[in-house]
Amino acid sequence: MNHFGPTSTRFTRALGVATILGLGWLAVFGLLLSPDDVVQGSYARLLYIHVPSAWLAYLAFGVTGLASGAYLWPRTRSMQWDRIAGASAEVGVLFMALALVTGSLWGKVTWGTYWTWDSRLTTTAFLFVTYIGYLAVRDLGGSHEQRARRSAVLALLAVLEVPLVHFSVSWWRPLHQAETIERGGLKGLMLFSFFVGMIAFTLLYVWLVMHRQRLMMLNDMIDDSGLDRALAERRNEVAP
């Protein structure tokens, strides 16, 4: 028996199909159609996953920040914002992990090491841990409002780290690629494949966040309906 309905709607189903198509499209372009890089050969194809996942992580954390701001702003306060913030942060952590993993693999084949203490890499690691901390705080327990308020404040502070990561390459010990793409370093089919990757990952992001956010809503509803049952039970406690 399902009181709450599925987490999908017609729209998210369509979105899901589009995401899958986009990822397939990316595989075709990324793996088959785009040319080898002059320097890195076939390894450069990691770019089509690595960069979109990093940028989508930024976007996700940005959305978390915005939604948290919307929650804290009295006029727009709603638990919906809190759930969007939480869902987006979860997906962001996922994408950040993907960027770290693909980056490490890429590093192994180009720099000859999985990890190095370059500024971009290190700040990325900090960002990753910061949002793990954010998720830990969401998990602390307490009422829904309490969770929302605490984590919203935290998210607004944490999002300040995103520019730090982005600009860190120009600050010190740069080994990692500087702004290649913004400066038009990609050409032709490579650029196009990159765009396909961005679109596919964006669709994936939206799709995941919508589902996760609705799942959270259902969880909150279960908590609330659990409350009704618990209330009935509690009222039946008797005086000795």
């Binding site: 700040t123 900090f126 960002l127 841990v129 910061t130 793990i132 901390g133 830990a136 705080v137 602390l140 327990g141 307490g142 009422s143 309490q146 308020r149 605490r150 404040v153 935290l154 607004l156 502070l157 944490a158 300040l160 780290e161 730090l164 010190w172």
Partner: protein
């Protein structure tokens, strides 16, 4: 109702008085920090390396000491429900935040002075004349930044289960920019590895920005962080 500033003074005074009576920071944290410097020297075990990384070690030691001091500062509040009592007393979050951060900054300032002194002696680093102003600015902005961050996350972790371990998890990644900035600026001030004073000033900007952001953020948000 008292003004935020009056409350801050009250809370800061109380915290410093607790330290004055119990001497925990002066008798235990300072030796701990000094010890940590020695331990680093042990783990690294090479004079030339040490000299190069001395500024980093000073700030690393300061940050770990901060962790311990923050833990202590909030253990005092939660041991017997005083934080709850402060909330009931209508003491506003902003006042608690500023007060505790100021008391923390005062204690941290003394500690860092000792650490910097120790580094200059132990690791045989030299202070160039022109670097003094830079060093002083670093010291000021980094101390304030660390105190604000420490107080903010200390308050958040104070009520939580397993707070001894939650605090470092939350605090360290956020305080990392301070660590970087302060280290780079100190290197510039001391002329480590050929850095010059002018390399240091941009970092002061970052440190100041950080202190201001967390100072304002904390003042505004602390009340809702410690409230259930």
């Amino acid at each position: 109702m008292l003004s935020v500033w009056a409350i801050s003074r009250l809370v800061a005074g109380k915290d410093l008085r607790v330290e004055w009576r119990s001497r925990v920071v002066s008798n235990q944290v300072v030796p701990f920090a000094a010890l940590m410097m020695v331990m680093f020297a042990f783990a690294l075990d090479s004079d030339s390396v040490l000299k190069r990384v001395a500024p980093g070690l000073v700030w690393l030691a300061a940050m770990f000491s901060l962790l311990v001091i923050v833990q202590r500062a909030f253990a005092v509040e939660t041991a017997d429900g005083a934080l709850d009592a402060l909330r009931v007393a209508g003491v506003r979050g902003a006042g608690i935040f500023v007060g505790k951060a100021l008391a923390l900054a005062a204690q941290l300032a003394v500690l860092e002075l000792i650490l910097l002194g120790a580094a200059i002696v132990l690791y045989d680093t030299h202070l160039v004349g022109s670097g003094i102003a830079l060093l002083a600015c670093t010291y000021l902005t980094a101390t304030l930044g660390l105190s604000f961050v420490g107080t903010l996350y200390g308050g958040l972790a104070a009520g939580a289960k397993g707070r001894e371990t939650l605090l470092p998890l939350l605090m360290l990644p956020v305080a990392a920019p301070v660590l970087i900035g302060a280290t780079r600026a100190t290197e510039a001030a001391l002329g480590t590895a050929g850095a010059t004073t002018s390399d240091g000033w941009p970092w002061i900007g970052l440190l100041a920005l950080f202190a201001v952001a967390f100072g304002i953020g904390g003042t505004l948000a602390f009340g809702s962080l410690i409230d259930e």
